[in-house]
């Protein structure tokens, strides 16, 4: 029985969670549906690789939006990266952004339309490389937005190059003999860095490598959107995600890699919650 500790030292007993209460029910009471596609998730085949985490995370966001009934208020900002075409899968208003500037675009939109729910969806290049200034300052200003940070430790869209979150020793197309800490520096822990800023109110790291973790991820994403709905300030959920293609693994192996390796360096749990 795995215990998860959040920053206050309280442990979460995973066995106590009732699976059924978190399962989304798309239709009204009295129907026989236990699980189906959320309405906000466009019913088209996505372009992601088999076993990629994006499909799961897109769905969790759409479930959240449906459950809060905010589809007509939501404005999403899509990144540059594998999820650049995310708006093809989402049934609400979306803007693109220049690479890394996603939080700046979100700031512009949320400041002029504070009654709308504005979220960014960013990969590890968008948020932790080219966009480090923008995420730090949007967080520091305490913008009342929700950031979903997909961390799969590699640049997928462009062919598997090193990301700021690539692990030591990990082979990528730009670290052919494995990431060298001396030459390439250490993987960056963005959430731990951002937690230092008083403007950040809720930061949690989750994963989608198993159905149990997907449930936790859903809860965190829901909480992050609720923070914005309640005007409580800046929240960010980092989601460890599989990239079977550029980890050179099968999807099941990739899921295991998160459990056994990635989550060891990037620990799951609440980093900060105000």
């Amino acid at each position: 029985m795995k215990k998860r500790r959040n920053k206050t030292g309280k442990s979460k007993d995973s066995k106590k969670q009732s699976v059924r209460q978190h399962v989304p029910v798309a239709e009204e009471q009295g129907s026989d549906v236990i699980f189906s596609r959320p309405q906000s998730l466009t019913d088209v085949e996505n372009h992601y690789c088999a076993g990629c985490g994006h499909g799961i995370i897109h769905r969790l966001i759409c479930e959240t939006i449906d459950e809060f009934g905010i589809r007509e208020k939501v404005i999403g900002i899509a990144p540059v990266g594998c999820a650049v075409l995310a708006y093809d899968y989402w049934g609400f208003d979306v803007a693109e952004a220049a690479h890394g500037r996603t939080p700046a675009v979100a700031t512009g939109i949320k400041r002029v339309r504070p009654e709308n729910i504005v979220f960014t969806y960013q990969g590890d290049g968008d948020l932790a490389a080219i966009g480090t200034a923008e995420i730090v300052h949007a967080a520091n200003r305490g913008e009342n937005i929700t950031v979903i940070f997909v961390n799969n430790g590699v640049y997928g869209m462009t062919g598997g190059q090193m990301a700021p979150t690539t692990l030591a020793g990990q082979r990528t197309t730009t670290t052919l003999s494995g990431r060298s800490l001396r030459r390439e520096g250490y993987p960056i822990k963005m959430l731990e860095m951002l937690a230092v800023l008083p403007g950040t109110k809720y930061l949690e790291r989750v994963s989608v490598h198993s159905a149990q973790e997907v449930l936790r991820a859903k809860r965190a994403i829901k909480k992050a959107f609720k923070m914005q709905i309640d005007n409580k300030g800046f929240s960010i959920v980092e989601v460890l995600s599989m990239c079977p293609t550029y980890w050179n693994m099968t999807p099941i192996q990739a899921a295991d890699r998160i459990k056994n390796e990635v989550a060891t360096f990037y620990p799951l749990g609440v980093i900060k919650s105000c």
Partner: protein, 349 residues
């Protein structure tokens, strides 16, 4: 505010934006346009608008992108090096067909340069410092009053064409104080923007994007943009002319240099020399038809710029070999005097 005021060009530009209904400004401090950023901080607070001192010029242009996507009149400003940073964002704004206003108070370059006035960003503004096939309407005011009026106009033009509009000034005009008449007509701020991101209640979701991967789709998009630019060219040319009907030599200059050149023209006329002046107000679309019309009978054009010669290339294109085109310029933040220009005119006779 009373309708007469004494303001520097930077502040006049800001007031023009406020009068046009601009309610979002994001910028980053850089000399010589800091007065504009500070003025917008003050006026956005007073009018219930949004002012953000962004972490960089990169962030500021993307914040404007967001506010524009959400349907608001938005502006950013900077000076040469900061405008370089904005180029990617400008390309995105055009590709996504978003209206906004961008102001460049030019300074000496290249690189960090100095904080003195310059006109060496003409190519960047007019030929496109950003990537891709695009045009911006580029307005070149030459006084504080014109900063007020042309910034005000820029918002209407931006909304009219769903394209960014650009104000190309320089540090001299930005910091020079002049009296202003603030009595401008009310702006059209309630232009419907059904394409903007407001939340998809009662309609299909809107997507603001410039990524078009389908076969032939991006080419079609570019054709529509080019058609838009053609309409701008046909409709929005603005220029001021002096003595073109009986000139042997025509000076061509814009912004602060045009005012100096006008004095030189006066000196020349006082000596009986037939000198005229063409002052483009829109640098794009360029008043090439005006030049084409007079190229047959004018003997020489003398283009004067605070640069190594950028607008002179557009003059040469328009003259198309029918007359001589000469150039006089000062670089690196130095300002030509009316005497220097007059001497050059005399040398050309």
């Amino acid at each position: 505010m009373s309708y007469k005021a004494l303001m520097c060009g930077n502040e006049a530009c800001g007031e023009g934006a406020v009068l046009a209904g601009c309610r979002f400004y994001a910028g980053y401090p850089i000399t010589p346009q800091n007065e504009l950023t500070a003025y917008m901080a003050k006026r956005m607070n007073e009018t219930g608008g949004i002012f953000i001192q962004a972490e960089s010029e990169l962030a500021a242009i993307s914040m404007v992108f967001g506010a524009a996507a959400a349907g608001f009149r938005a502006m950013t400003s900077s000076s040469s090096p900061g405008i370089s940073l904005k180029q990617e964002g400008i390309s995105y704004l055009v590709g996504c067909e978003l209206p906004c206003v961008i102001v460049n108070m030019q300074r000496g370059g290249p690189g960090l340069g100095n904080i003195a006035p310059s006109q060496a960003d003409y190519f960047q503004a007019v030929k496109g410092g950003g990537h891709g096939d695009y045009k911006l309407i580029v307005l070149a005011p030459s006084s504080a009053q014109e900063f007020l009026e042309y910034t005000y106009l820029a918002f209407d033009l931006a909304d009219k064409y769903r394209n960014p509009a650009f104000i190309l000034g320089d540090g001299l005009l930005g910091q020079m104080m002049e009296p202003l008449n603030l009595n401008l007509k009310a702006p059209v701020t309630n232009l419907p923007k059904p394409w903007s991101l407001t939340g998809c209640r009662g309609r299909k979701p809107n997507i603001i994007r410039s990524l078009l991967l389908g076969e032939g789709v991006l080419e079609e998009h570019n054709k529509r943009l080019q058609e838009k630019f053609r309409r701008m060219k046909d409709t929005e040319v603005r220029a001021e002319t002096f003595n073109l009907k009986d000139s042997d030599i025509v000076l061509v200059a814009y912004g602060s240099v045009a005012r100096i050149a006008k004095a030189s023209m006066g000196m020349a006329r006082a000596k009986g020399l037939k000198v005229g002046l063409l002052r483009p107000i829109t640098l794009w679309p360029f008043p090439d038809k005006v030049i084409e019309e007079i190229s047959g009978r004018v003997k020489k054009f003398l283009v004067v710029e605070m640069s190594a010669g950028q607008m002179v290339e557009d003059v040469r294109l328009a003259v198309n070999g029918k007359a001589e085109v000469d150039f006089y310029g000062r670089m690196g933040g130095s300002i030509p005097t009316e005497d220097e220009i007059f001497e050059r005119i005399e040398a050309l006779i």
